[in-house]
């Protein structure tokens, strides 16, 4: 039964692929706008084996990793502070909310003006996409630790200063992992934006260059590669969840 459920996850892929192949074969869309699945598969092969696409893939993954890591390094402690301390929350939340509601693409021209189109600009773009969302999610995850469990720990003799490490952090950690997992997706949105707007390497760069050269199959091929990487990263998060947070209560 569980295997069947897992296999059923492939069904939508197959359905879309079939629809796509049929639409192209029936001549409903011009191959220029939507090349056939076979042409796209060929493009993926060619990109990797003829055009060293893996270099762009690696560059993009490195950018995402750095940008995401820096965002998390700031978002975690600030989120903890906001989740545990009403003063920190009152002080920071309005500002973070303000930035969060101003879409990052609106800042990109400014970032290019300030930082050029190098690596710093890309890191800043990922940071601005990830940080302001992640920090609020972490704050909420920490504040969801029930008062009673802290009180029980206090009554048993856990000191106030060790409460965070011994009770609050372990209790919140499955939720924090899930916060990181969700914001990882945003980091990828950020880097695509940055590479499409101004870059000379990376997956986003390959996408915009292919569009300029009217190589639609390469555009779609690159998008599919991003999707596959995304699924792979997600399954890493799920592996950690299943192996380290198997104890969490599922409501």
């Amino acid at each position: 039964m569980r295997h069947l459920l897992r296999l059923s996850g492939f069904a939508p892929f197959i359905a879309v692929l079939l629809l796509w192949a049929l639409a192209v074969a029936a001549g409903a869309v011009k191959p220029f706008f939507l090349p056939s699945p076979v042409a796209v598969a060929q493009a993926i092969f060619d990109l990797f084996f003829k055009y060293a696409f893996w270099q762009d893939v690696l560059v993009t993954m490195l950018r995402v990793s750095v940008g995401f890591a820096i965002s998390a390094v700031f978002a975690l402690p600030i989120g903890f502070a906001m989740g545990l301390n009403t003063a920190a929350k009152a002080f920071l939340e309005p500002f973070i909310d303000f930035i969060r509601y101003t879409p990052t693409p609106a800042y990109v021209p400014l970032f290019i003006l300030w930082f050029g189109v190098g690596e710093l600009e890309k890191t800043v773009i990922i940071f601005s996409v990830v940080f302001f969302q992640l920090v609020l999610m972490v704050a909420s995850s920490v504040s969801l630790v029930p008062r009673e469990i802290r009180e029980f720990a206090t009554v048993l003799g856990v000191k106030k200063k060790s409460l965070f490490l011994e009770v609050i952090l372990p209790h919140a950690s499955p939720r924090i992992l899930s916060d990181l997992r969700i914001s990882m997706g945003w980091a990828w949105s950020g880097i695509m934006l940055a590479e499409i707007v101004g870059s000379n390497s990376g997956i986003g760069y390959v996408i915009i260059q292919s569009q300029r050269l009217l190589l639609t199959q390469n555009v779609i091929a690159a998008i599919i590669v991003v999707g596959i990487i995304g699924v792979a990263i997600d399954s890493c998060f799920r592996w950690v969840d299943a192996n380290y947070f198997y104890w969490k209560e599922v409501a």
């Binding site: 009673e148 469990i149 009180e151 029980f152 720990a153 206090t154 009554v155 048993l156 003799g157 856990v158 009770v167 372990p170 209790h171 950690s173 947070f245 198997y246 104890w247 969490k248 209560e249 599922v250």
Partner: protein, 243 residues
Amino acid sequence: MQELSLRLQGVTKNYVLDGKPFVALDSVSLEAKKGEFVAIVGPSGCGKSTLLRIAAGLEHASSGGVILEERASMLFQAPQLFPWLSVCKNIEFSLMLGEKTPTEDQAYFFVQQVGLEGFENAVVKNLSGGMKQRLSLAMVLANDSGIILMDEPFSSLDAQTREAMHELVLQIFEKNNKTCILVTHDVEEALLLADKVCVMSSKPGRISDCVKVNLPRPRNASLKLSDEFLALKRQVYSLLKEK
């Protein structure tokens, strides 16, 4: 004369509720001797849980004094556990906080005391509600505090599990020399377990009367059918109605 374990002296608690001042507890005094089991019964909202939280140091009284001769730990209405630790590790965690270096044998001793043998390595989320409350009780026992405060710890369990918990608490209480303060709205439970049942009235919360329960120990559930028990039950009910 046994020495005193816990004394609440004129404890008053005022809140502001929806902008209006509200007296939750009005000069409540209560004493428990070392090794005594005291139950507090009263309608919901009479402030009995607040009283317990003040005794546990989780809330401050507006006025009045709390004197504890021993450390107090507390059993909550919903079993509180650390779900990232196994059954045994939960107990070890609590043992450690009691400032002993725990050994596996020690932890297993408390596993046995609450009848969780065979589940020592279980994940908390796989335990039933009753087993969770047993584990919570084991942690409170392992914590090695002289006073155990209980805030309606059996009210969310089904009738059968609750009865099993009563027997367990009786066994444990009669073996260990712990002072227990139990807050409950279940008069039968109070009489079965306690040496003294105090009746609380609400708005404002006051202890109106205390009834001595001079029933012999060791006790068990069959006591509930005895004439003495029923007489005491009538007495407490009439006190609850009077208020």
